[in-house]
């Protein structure tokens, strides 16, 4: 549009002038609306855009992910597990049990006297254990119970060097195939060895430390070791000699323990006992007493009883004389004045049907027949037969009772153990096998394991069954990319729903905060005077209340009140909102104080616009940029606060998921150490979301307020 053209084309001049004043699209200076300007500045900031993308991803993950996920938030998953349940217990009866005749003279006081008399005649003397494998020797009495020993043995068998028992990590140190030490952090708790160390005389008892050093030296092929400043040498034949050459101890495959504190085991008698065991003797005489052996194949223990044939077989109690008649080692009859008043025996006669009580005469005759090896007896005019398993039949072939030295009982009260099952257990116990299969009357075979418990001297019968349990803490698989949590719920789905809860709570709390803050701050800033003073003092007070402790107290109170989890969530949002508005109110008031002095406010006043309209239409919109920034940042901090509360167990409750209460599982140290897939993803999502909110808030602040840019 040059001047020359204007002159040469005067006719067009007027039109051109008009055109100069009219704003055509191509002439117009490109001016963006303030909103577009802010958006442009915002999108130029790469960090902020990244934050925005992360936020969008989180929203998609939480809100759409929950819809897409094949599982529901509280859908539980199960798995079947072979569980070994205690099913029955078998006790080998080693105590005398009494049956009294109907005369009633065999009172419990007399029973006690009878036991004393029996013990004079025959008394258990010692127990001999032959080591057929690893035997446990504790460092102190009572350390490592049977359970822990079992675990240690398992570790040895599986060649593991560590196992955990009751939260304590114990290590198994292998010296050789024949010697293992069990240690905790500080000391050796016990050892498993195939040999025992036996003191040569009572003057030199064998301490645990001594045994440990001696065994270690032997297993390592060394010929000497020293303890307490003394050196001991080990012979080729396994005896240990001290410096003077006297025998101090010996290695032996046998361990002998006294049956009672009043039994004295001299080295000579020990020697004699071992010789007897090795020669398979069942009885020998030594210093006016008979020693009788009984061997249990299943536990590999010999029990030695000492019998004194010369002892008196009668006793007097309360001026009545009682006489004892020994039928066998384990069976005695008690008479007074020639009348049979009771029997004491280790075998038990029990009725086949639970409600039948057996008459004394029946019991007596049955046991007498059993001891005598007879197959039939008669009682009260009826005759009975006994079969190989000790079952007593009536003439018509009906089973009435059985005789056994074992007590078999079911662990659970509602389980009935059939006669065949009991027989099978006892067969297994007697043959020393540790498992058997029993086919029940319904034709279903189940496997049972037998385990001898040395502490209770009983066998536990365990049944292996398939049980359905919650699939807790499952490893990540294709079906559950992040595994499952402690309730057997899919972790990924929980994370999605958790994100939903965390974000919704954040938004609602910030919304409440902002509404309250804008109203109070707007009123306060616009009116000033006493209204301002009052509102600001309320703000001061609320500001001064320590919010975290107060929320904790209220959370504990809601715990105590056992609120419904969804109502609880509502209260939580209200409380967080009410405690959070003073910050917003201060911001709004400060802005309005400066804005209301500006000309445009005078103009609104001159136009006669109503007060609420002036506040909410003209003042507040000018505060909105700051508000948006504060709200965005506030979302982040609210989400952290909610997560912290849920982590402490005072916020969102099961069955609702929130990122905080998912991480709450970390309070269980086992989860902290082993199941990172439970808590790390939730933490990372939480961190990313809050970080993204903060970055976006920062970016918005820069975009709204370009002054800060140099």
């Amino acid at each position: 549009m040059s001047e020359k053209e204007n002159k040469t084309l005067p006719a067009q001049e007027n039109a051109d002038r008009n055109e100069q004043y009219s704003l055509n699209d191509d002439r117009r200076v490109k001016v963006l609306s303030p909103g577009a300007l802010v958006a442009k500045r915002f999108f130029r900031n790469r960090l902020a855009v990244t934050g925005m993308i992360v936020l969008i991803a989180m929203f998609v993950f939480s809100f759409i992910g929950g819809l897409v996920s094949p599982y529901k938030q509280d859908q539980k998953f199960y798995r079947t597990e072979i569980q070994v349940k205690d099913y029955a217990g078998v006790l080998h009866n080693e105590e005398f049990r009494y049956s009294a005749a109907e005369s009633g003279k065999f009172t419990s006081a007399v029973q006690a006297q009878t036991l004393l008399a029996i013990q004079r005649i025959s008394k258990s003397f010692a127990e001999i254990v032959r080591s057929d494998g690893l035997q446990f020797l504790p460092a102190k009495d009572g350390v490592l119970n049977a359970d822990a020993q079992g675990q240690a043995l398992m570790s040895i068998r599986n060649e593991r060097t560590e196992f955990t028992y009751l939260d304590e990590v114990l290590s198994v140190e292998k010296i050789s195939d024949r010697l293992y030490l069990v240690n905790n952090d500080d000391e050796t708790l016990g050892l498993f060895a195939e040999d025992f160390v036996i003191a040569a005389s009572e003057a030199t008892p064998v301490s645990f430390e001594y045994a440990r050093l001696a065994l270690t030296a032997k297993e390592r092929g060394e010929t000497s070791f020293s303890i307490d400043g003394k050196t001991y040498t080990i012979d080729a034949d396994g005896s240990i000699k001290d410096e003077s050459g006297a025998a101090a101890a010996a290695f032996s495959a046998y361990s002998i323990s006294a049956a009672g504190s009043d039994v004295v085991l001299t080295p000579e008698i020990k020697d004699r006992l071992i010789r007897a065991v090795e020669a398979n003797e069942t009885e020998f005489e030594y210093e006016n007493a008979n020693y009788v052996f009984s061997h249990s194949a299943s536990t590999n223990v010999w029990t030695v009883a000492r019998e004194n044939p010369g002892a008196a077989d009668n006793f007097t109690y309360r001026d009545t004389e009682y006489s004892l008649k020994r039928i066998s080692r384990d069976f005695f009859c008690i008479y007074t004045d020639g009348e049979l008043i009771g029997i004491a025996g280790k075998k038990i006669v029990s009725g086949s049907s639970s409600n039948a009580s057996l008459p004394f005469d029946f019991t007596y005759n049955a046991l007498m027949a059993d001891v005598g090896g007879e197959r039939s007896f008669s009682s009260e005019g009826k005759s009975y037969t006994i079969d190989d398993d000790g079952v007593v039949y009536e003439e018509n072939g009906e089973e009435v009772a059985y005789i056994s030295e074992y007590i078999v009982r079911a662990v659970m009260g509602d389980v009935f153990l059939s006669r065949e099952f009991k027989n099978q257990i006892i067969d297994a116990v007697e043959s020393g096998s540790d498992e058997f299969v029993y086919t029940g009357p319904d034709g279903v075979a189940a496997e049972y394991a037998l385990e001898y418990n040395a502490a209770t001297k009983a066998w536990d019968v365990k049944q292996e069954t398939d049980t359905t349990v919650f699939d807790t803490y499952a490893e990540p698989t294709k079906a559950h990319p992040l595994g499952t949590d402690r309730n057997g719920m899919d972790m990924l789905t929980r994370l999605m729903y958790g994100g939903r809860v965390s974000l919704i709570i954040g938004f609602i709390v910030v919304f409440i905060e902002t509404i309250l803050g804008v109203i109070m701050g707007g009123i306060s800033g616009y009116f000033g005077g006493w209204v301002d003073n009052l509102i600001m003092r309320i703000v001061d007070i609320l500001y001064c209340i320590p919010s975290m402790p107060i929320i904790i107290i209220i959370g504990a109170a809601m715990d105590a009140a056992n609120l419904d989890p969804s109502i609880r969530m509502l209260y939580l949002m209200l409380i967080l909102g009410i405690l959070g508005w003073p910050g917003v109110a201060r911001l709004v008031r400060g802005q309005i104080l400066s804005l209301r002095e500006q000309e445009f406010m005078t103009a609104t006043e001159a136009c006669g616009i109503s007060v609420p309209r002036r506040i909410f239409k003209h003042l507040i919109p000018n505060v909105i940029p700051q508000l948006i920034v504060t709200m965005t940042m506030g979302l982040g901090s609210t989400i952290i606060l909610e997560a912290t509360l849920s982590f402490l167990g005072l916020g969102v409750r099961f069955p609702f998921a929130s990122w905080g209460n998912i991480i709450n599982d970390v309070n269980n140290v086992f989860v902290l150490t082993h199941y990172w897939n439970i808590w790390i993803p939730a933490g990372v999502l939480l961190l990313l979301t809050v970080l993204a909110f903060n970055i976006v808030g920062d970016g918005l602040r820069d975009a709204f307020d370009p002054k800060m840019k140099r």
Binding site: M548, F647, L648, G683, N694
Partner: protein
């Protein structure tokens, strides 16, 4: 100035009165109280009085039989005479328990505050001087990550890495198992060893905001006219930044640092609870959860006093440090 301080102090007293009342009312309104659970426990014992009788006796014994308003004034009267009562949970005078625990928290807070300062301020200044270059982005993201990091998650991560995987630190507690067998020097180092992770947590979680504050203020100062003048005079960039700009940035920083000094006594509730450090934060957490009114009241009012004191200190310091600001 004096008039201003006196006015602020009087106002603080009024605020404190209302804060204390609100807290007291809240604590009294809790649906389940320590007294109830104690009465329930006592009435469970054989040959005991009924629950109602115990309840009546214990409420009277704990001075809880009055209404909320009367009870509050009773508490206030006692407190003004220096009598803070006995803690229910800890069964010692509140002041004694407070004295036992607050110093540990103070030491922990002071150490972490010191580290916070020497890390956050230099980084904030570097970020401002290198605005929109990579150091600024890195530092900004670190600062924002510090702010966004939930304390409990960071503490759990630290525990996983340093306590579980590396085994350098214990998971919980202030003292080790063999603390009693150690010499006094050993005991000191044992405690220091156990405080390491909590202090790292505190520093990382709280340094972000100070870093950003420093950066923002430094940026504002760098935009000021006197900086342009200093540059125009031909001063070296070093001198401009560390002589002219930094000193002016110190004004808001000193204010905020002064204002947060009283807060060092408040303890770190979450961190102490996570690491089972028996400081004032953990102790008061346990008291609050079990409904121990005397101790919680004392702690919360103490907390409020610290907040007011911090604000007052910040305002006064602002006037002292910056001679341009004179309070009317």
């Amino acid at each position: 100035m004096r008039k201003y301080i006196v006015k602020r102090l009087l106002l603080s007293v009024v605020i404190l009165f209302f804060v204390a009342f609100i807290i007291y009312a809240l604590m009294r309104c809790l649906p389940t109280s320590y007294i109830e659970s104690m009465a329930r426990q006592k009435s469970m014992q054989p040959n005991s009085k009924s629950y109602e009788e115990w309840m009546a006796q214990l409420t009277a014994a704990y001075n809880m039989d009055k209404g909320i308003v009367l009870g509050f004034f009773g508490w206030l009267g006692n407190m003004l005479q220096g009598n803070f009562g006995d803690s229910w949970k800890w069964t010692v005078p509140v002041i004694e328990k407070f004295n036992d625990t607050v110093w540990l928290s103070f030491v922990m807070g002071a150490i972490s505050f010191f580290f916070e300062l020497i890390i956050a301020i230099p980084l904030g200044i570097i970020a401002a001087t290198k605005q929109y270059r990579w150091p600024d982005y890195v530092i900004s993201v670190i600062a924002l990550a510090g702010i966004s990091l939930p304390t409990f998650f960071f503490a759990s991560l630290l525990k996983l890495v340093f306590s579980v995987k590396l085994g350098w630190f214990d998971l919980y507690g202030l003292v080790g198992r063999n603390y009693d067998q150690l010499s006094s020097v050993g005991q000191f180092f044992d405690k220091a060893h156990h405080l390491f992770l909590p202090i790292v947590t505190l520093v990382v979680v709280s340094m972000g905001s100070l870093m950003r504050y420093t950066r923002t203020n430094m940026l504002e100062v760098l935009n000021a006219d006197y900086i342009r003048t200093a540059r125009a005079k031909g001063l070296s960039e070093r001198k401009v930044i560390y002589h002219h700009a930094f000193r002016n940035t110190l004004i808001p920083i000193v204010t905020i640092v002064g204002g947060s000094l009283p807060g060092l006594f408040a303890g770190a509730l979450i961190t102490e609870t996570l690491f089972s450090i028996p400081g004032i934060g953990f102790t008061s957490y346990q008291s609050m959860v079990s409904g121990d009114i005397p101790f919680s009241m004392f702690y919360l009012v103490f907390f409020a006093v610290l907040t007011l004191l911090g604000n007052l200190l910040a305002d006064i310091l602002y006037g002292v440090v910056d001679p341009r600001v004179r309070v009317s």
